[in-house]
Symmetry: C2
Subunit: 167 residues, 2 copies
């Protein structure tokens, strides 16, 4: 498809409504694939996708506060609390009172939490690895560029913050 050599003069075929519609459907179908493998694992346990997301981001940002996690996940504290409570009860997540500000709780994965997080992430990554490999490095770069441009500015900020120093 259009290898845009000429930003001005070209037909911009990739911006037609039909192309955009196709892109939307690709997002829909791909997201299903993206969540399918960890979902299968979670089905066996008494957890859902919400638990996976919490584990994922606590792993990524260990010591994060509850408030910070709320912002990242984009849910209410009541929703998150329901998930977090079971994870803490089950010994997958540890909540630690803040040292400088004792109102805050800092969240960490326990060893068991890390183990489950790894199992879920491995399942998810193996599909992504195959997709990335099939598509090649340049496609992956484009993939990321488009996804990033699609985010809300506030979420993009969060995204960069998470990857800061690691990316």
């Amino acid at each position: 498809m259009s290898e845009g050599r000429s930003p001005q003069g070209e037909t911009l075929l990739f911006l037609t409504d039909e192309q955009l519609r196709q892109g939307a459907e690709a997002m829909f179908f791909a997201y299903r694939g993206f969540t399918a493998d960890p979902d299968r694992i979670l089905d066996g346990l008494s957890y859902g996708r919400a638990h996976h997301r919490a584990l994922h981001f606590i792993h990524t940002a260990p010591g994060t506060t509850v408030n910070n996690l709320l912002t990242i996940l984009g849910v209410t504290k009541q929703s998150l609390n329901r998930v977090l409570r079971t994870l803490i009860e089950d010994g997958l997540v540890q909540s630690q009172v803040g040292r400088t500000d004792k109102r805050e709780r800092h969240l960490y994965l326990t060893e068991a939490g890390e183990t489950l997080e790894r199992e879920l992430s491995d399942a998810q990554r193996s599909r992504m690895r195959a997709a990335f490999r099939d598509a090649g490095p340049e496609a992956v770069a484009g993939f990321r560029r488009v996804l990033e441009a699609m985010m809300d500015p506030e979420l993009r900020r969060q995204y960069h913050k998470l990857r800061g120093g690691r990316g």
Copy 2:
């Protein structure tokens, strides 16, 4: 397959666990953006994301049967039926008994249905258009290549079937 200049010798940095994790987070944040605009419109009406999906795919594949739509959406007939019933009651979707096989129902958008579908899709597309434009045609091609590689084979088949003749 891999575009790479040096399939063997290169570091394959884009396949490290950290890079894959970053890709997963990009998917998560971008999908939020992807659904945000139509969701805002739906909030006002008494509809949800499920209604949007039904409208979208009936628009894309007019005359589709219920069973076909079930496969595409990946939900149970009971779930779809609940959504479909309200759309039909509200005069957005028309269900037509099949001519050759009278068990089947063929689904079409009414004029009102087309109007709402367009409103929702326009909202979604305007963000995608901006993202595509920002990222450029080559990035968009990569974006689509990766998404397609991420789909379940059965869904990829559905995806191609939908775009057949149009894509």
